[in-house]
């Protein structure tokens, strides 16, 4: 031994188990921070990528252009890319199909959301990219690199070489009009009000500070809102600072929990050795030397834990993601997910790790150095004065008999230790609750998901109906049999029928209307019969759809049998209107409950007769629409089963169409499994489509896949976050509860000596462990709730939605805390049971 400082190393070596536990704590914390950083960055990158995918990668745009504006922007010192985009006219093709050829230049192809499936982007005037599905409908059915002769809107016929094929878009397929982009440049495009200009700024330019000066150039200025928000560069500085607050809160919480874990480990290690430090003081160690011993321990631990943590954080993430990639879950649109290595994240985690360790070691070091040598040599054992409060509230634990009473005494006896232990549990639970809440919310914010995402194909029929009302009731375009066959195809998740949609009004009495909605949106409703007319979309759901609807059930039932009885319908009353302060917010439009009667009016009439009104019963309420758009703006969604729907339709005497369409299956929606091969399904569907005249197959498999992947990936991120946090929290609890028990070895020996059986001791210790879990969870949930609400307040500014109490997270956290508390006392107890009780007693305090 060269110096007294080597004692630190000796201690760590001797207390190998505890040192390893501490190192693991540090390691996990650093891993968490670095993984959080990396994932946060990846998440941000992905969200930005997604925003670019959807809306294009430009920052600013002008809906109108002029040569002057173009010249200014072109020479502008801050502008990086500048694209020109001009919307083309619709060119009709055979069979009601059409194509619109938009023109854009080289930068435009980069800035606009144009997604190649195959080939390349045009680089010359006669080159064009089109959507894949239209290829067959183009004159001469050209393939990729083929040539198509098209008659332009001005009447001239031009021949285009098809150099690239774009992803199919649902809207264009449904409308039968394909998007196409041709190359052009500033010399060729008229720079007038019909031409848009799009631009990005040079890297490193503070975007939101430039918004004002760019706005001055032309009033038609607009920004790519979503992209800028995700980049943290929105023109709304309050929004930016809100995002900053949210992220610093989360990072702060993680850092705090890291500090807490390490602090605990050190604090307990120091408490255990208070006497030793006192002894060192008696033989002449100065307080500074004691501090330096503790700090040296901290340095050794962090020197091992922090780099390992970085390695584990990085490779753990990399490993998980590569496994997911290998298992076919393609991350984003990329075949291999490149986890970008950011030095700032690694460096930041490194610094935070070390700083946290030193911060955490600081108080214990001070405590160790201020130990009174007298107290240590007196050998009184515990240095902390144990305070008994004599007046106390009875604890629930007392109900558990003598063991419970002992446990409750033990817990309350030592305030300092109690506080440390609870604190670490509280912080773990809080962390979990808050992160659970935040990730869930951001998941719903960044990915609005419902069953529509799964739809890969649609089969539409455009059967026409005679105007004179003489046409007979339509029959199903596809038989049940075919439906079943389709459903059994490999890779098909479910096949849904499409039916006509009714736009009935619902007459809502005042007490059922949400007053807040009226207040916040400023919308008003027409009053009929002293009731408010709220528009509704009424859908017919077959059994397959109802099955999916069950996932969104808030109350009531979706059982088709029950619905059929008594004209039951399912209601979606949550809407997402634009509020007066220009913000989207989620809220219910009405306040119906299960069992309420819904008065619907088939055909508008200012003073409807009783015959025109129908009554149905609300049998179930959903949180959001399972299909179509999840939330309407100001419309109720009413879902009915076939019998109810049929009754409504037959009662409706006015509309010819309604009657004719009836409850016929007009088309199909096909949802496929994630990662399924859509090729064979498509072939099958094409065959069916050929047998049905006037039908059209919409192929959105590629889009669907990308959306699903994006959502899936977000979920993976979120749940990996949560599991890491769960692990670190559990570890924290294990560490504190275990050491809390191990520190009292002598006392437990004493209890054994006075006749407590090991079983009683186990019950006592288990009760303590669980009780710590309960108390910790209680405060943790309370604190977590507060913080979640705080985050909600911030998030609400970004996008409005109601505050969901994080029940789920709270219950999970509470359960885990108690379970971990219970389990973590078992190992030390087993060890104690094996140890010789006399040895424990003899061992000096």
């Amino acid at each position: 031994m060269k110096s007294y400082g080597a004692m630190a190393g000796r201690y760590l070596k001797q207390q190998r188990r505890k040192s390893i536990l501490t190192i693991v704590g540090i390691l996990l914390s650093v891993a968490l921070i670095s993984a959080l950083g990396t994932m946060g960055q990846a998440l941000k990158d992905n969200v930005i990528l997604n925003a670019k995918y959807n809306d294009g990668s430009f920052y600013f745009g002008y809906t109108e252009s002029s040569p002057d504006l173009y010249a200014k922007l072109e020479k502008h010192i801050l502008v990086d890319q500048l694209g020109i985009y001009r919307k083309g006219g619709e060119i009709p093709l055979q069979d009601d199909y059409s194509i619109t050829i938009d023109k854009t230049d080289k930068d435009g192809f980069r800035l606009l959301p144009i997604h190649l499936q195959d080939g390349r982007m045009p680089t010359a005037k006669d080159e064009i990219v089109v959507e894949q599905w239209i290829l067959d409908r183009l004159p001469g059915t050209p393939k990729l690199n083929g040539v198509a002769e098209l008659k332009d809107t001005d009447g001239t016929t031009r021949s285009y070489r098809i150099v690239g094929v774009l992803n199919n878009q649902q809207t264009s397929q449904t409308n039968g009009s394909s998007k196409a982009y041709a190359f052009s440049d500033s010399s060729d495009i008229a720079l007038d009000s019909g031409t848009q200009l799009l631009l990005t700024l040079k890297p490193g330019v503070d975007i939101n500070q430039q918004i004002e000066s760019f706005k001055k150039l032309n009033p038609s200025f607009f920004t790519n809102d979503d992209l800028l928000i995700f980049m943290g560069e929105s023109g709304d500085s309050r929004l930016n600072s809100t995002l900053m607050i949210i992220f610093s809160t989360l990072v702060g919480l993680v850092v705090l929990s890291t500090v807490a874990v390490i602090y605990n480990a050190f604090h307990i290690a120091v408490l255990e050795r208070i006497r030793q430090f006192g002894l060192l003081r008696t033989i002449g160690a100065s307080p500074g030397q004691i501090r330096s011993i503790v700090f040296r321990e901290a340095t050794v631990l962090s020197a091992i834990g922090v780099p390992l943590g970085l390695l584990v954080g990085w490779f753990g993430l990399w490993f998980t993601l590569s496994i997911m990639t290998q298992n076919g879950m393609k991350i984003m649109t990329m075949d291999s997910f490149e986890l970008t290595f950011h030095w700032w994240i690694m460096g930041g985690s490194f610094i935070i790790g070390f700083a946290a360790v030193y911060l955490a070691a600081w108080l214990p070091a001070r405590k160790a150095s201020s130990v009174s040598p007298v107290e240590a040599v007196k050998g009184a054992g515990s240095i902390v004065r144990e305070s008994f409060r004599h007046v106390r509230t009875p604890s629930l634990l007392s109900l558990m008999g003598i063991e419970g009473r002992m446990a409750s005494n033990n817990i309350r006896r030592n305030r300092a230790k109690f506080r440390i232990t609870t604190f670490s549990i509280v912080i773990s639970v809080t962390l979990f609750v808050v992160f659970h809440y935040f990730t869930q919310q951001s998941l719903t914010m960044t990915t609005t998901t419902n069953e529509n995402d799964r739809l890969a194909f649609q089969l539409l029929s455009n059967s026409s109906i005679e105007e004179d009302g003489s046409s007979p009731q339509l029959s199903d375009v596809v038989s049940d049999n075919v439906m079943r066959q389709l459903g059994e195809l490999p890779g098909v998740y479910r096949v849904y029928g499409n039916y006509q949609k009714l736009n009935y009004q619902v007459l809502v009495p005042d007490e059922k209307l949400n007053k807040d909605y009226v207040q916040k949106t400023g919308n008003s409703f027409e009053r009929i019969n002293d009731r408010n007319t709220v528009y509704s979309d009424m859908y017919l759901y077959d059994t397959a759809r109802l099955k999916e609807a069950a996932k969104y059930l808030q109350s009531g039932t979706v059982d088709p049998m029950k619905l059929a009885e008594g004209d039951g319908v399912i209601l979606v009353q949550t809407v997402k209107p634009m509020t007066v302060d220009d913000k989207r917010e989620l809220m219910p439009i009405t306040r119906y409950k299960v069992g309420d009667k819904l008065t619907v009016m088939g055909e508008y009439s200012a003073s409807p007769t009783a015959r025109q009104l129908r009554e149905v019963t609300v049998a179930g309420i959903l949180k959001q629409s399972p299909f179509e758009s999840p939330y309407q703006e100001n419309t109720l969604v009413v879902i009915a089963t076939k019998p109810t729907f049929a009754k409504l339709v037959t009662a409706d005497s006015q509309s010819v169409y309604t009657k004719a369409y009836g409850t016929a299956r007009l088309g199909l929606d096909i949802a496929i499994e994630d990662g399924a091969n859509s090729g064979p399904i498509k072939q099958e569907l094409e065959q069916i489509a050929r047998t049905i005249p006037g039908s059209r197959l919409v192929d959105i498999a590629a889009e669907q896949k990308e959306t699903r992947n994006y959502n899936l990936q977000m979920k993976i991120f979120v749940y990996s976050f949560l599991s890491i946090i769960g692990v670190i929290g559990s570890l924290n609890i294990i560490n504190t509860v275990q050491t809390n028990l191990l520190l009292r070895r002598k006392e437990i020996g004493l209890l054994q000596a006075v006749g407590m059986t090991m079983g009683q001791i186990r019950r006592m210790a288990s009760a303590e462990g669980v009780w710590f879990g309960v108390i910790g969870s209680f405060w943790g949930i309370l604190l977590g709730l507060g913080l979640s609400y705080f985050l909600y307040k911030r998030l609400n500014y970004v996008r409005g939605f109601p505050f969901d109490f994080p029940w789920e997270a709270s219950l999970i956290a509470c359960g885990i805390a108690m379970l971990v508390g219970l389990l973590s006392v078992q190992t030390p107890l087993r060890r104690m049971a094996k140890a010789n009780l006399l040895e424990e007693l003899r061992e000096e305090a």
């Binding site: 110096s3 010249a71 020479k75 502008h76 010192i77 100065s286």
Partner: protein, 435 residues
Amino acid sequence: MERIEKSKLGMARLWRDPYIKKLVLLLVAAIFVAIALLWIYGLYSTERLKQSWLDKESAMIGSIASTRPELANEWVRLLSDSGQPTVQELESGRKLLEEYGITSELEARWLPAIEHYRSHTLWTLISGTVLGFAILAYFLLRHARRQLFDIRNLAVALDDTVKHNQPMKFRIYGEGELGLLANGVQELSLRLKETIGQLNQDKDFMKETVADISHQLKTPLASLMIYIDLLREGNIDSQHSKEFLDTCKRELDRMEWLTLTLLKIARLEADALEMSLKSASLLATVTSAIETIQRLAAEKGITIEIEHSDESLSLYQDSHWLAEAIANVLKNAVEHSPEKSRITVTWERTPVFIRLRIIDRGFGIEEQHLPHIFKKFYRVSGGGHGVGLGLPLSKSIVERHGGMLTAAPNPKGGTIMTMTLPLNPLPIESPLTNL
């Protein structure tokens, strides 16, 4: 003696010194302040340069635009073009400017904007540097002064100690080199004092010994003188003269023993005698001691026995001297024992010591004498006929073996003398204190 690490003054060691620590902190703080100030100044001066450069450019564009608007457009394009100018562009531009006398050799002061920047920068930097150094120098000097102040105090205190034999007044209980120096100096002064004390003690001891010898020799010398006078006068009968001569012989023997023993003690206590410590059998030493005393014991019919002892035990010892010490204790025991009694010699080994006990069953020594029996010439009243030098000699010898000699009453009557001899004597400090 532990060392203050010799010439090595490693970083860790350097860092422990409080002065170095302060110095380093000072320098680090200075560096950070300098970096911060330079950073701020850099930002500020770039902003200024940019402003004046832009002003210049704007003025040019303005004047050109009023006459040649198309040129102004081109100018703006070039202005925002971040690419490197081509060699050709640079070359042709330079040629053009050269015609107006504007070359890179041109002194900066003819270009107003740059001249402004230069003078501004120059003065700010010079004054800043001077100020910075001045502040740093102030702190460094203050720092050095404090250190010198400590050293001076130490020097003054040391001077006082040396010249006036006072205890060190200025003490530093600190870490670092100065602390160690101060500690060393203080140790030195304490040692010095101790040594002086010891020297005085030795002087006293010498005086005492001389007085003892003269006192002890005076009486027998006087009686010898008388006997010799009487014998010389010759009027003594042969029987008496033989008696006188026997008495003289006895007195002379006693005086010889006395002087020899005193000399031995003096040499032992003055460290003038080398012990040759060798590992040797304790049994042999004890046996040889018993042999020398056997005759005396036999006279009184006393038996000396060795009891319950590990006979194979060996010890680092000078067996000659240790035998003498044991013999002296035995002699004392024999003298204090009644006739036909038993004296037991027994020893045991503990982890640290060998404890040798000599147990007699005599009259014992009264409590009040116990603290004094190892003093020279102390004689328990009446009892025995020794001069009281045997036990002090034994004690000196045992102490030279790093051990102790103690006496305690035997609960069964008599006395137990215990020699506690360490298996390995405590390490000896520097010889200074053992003068």
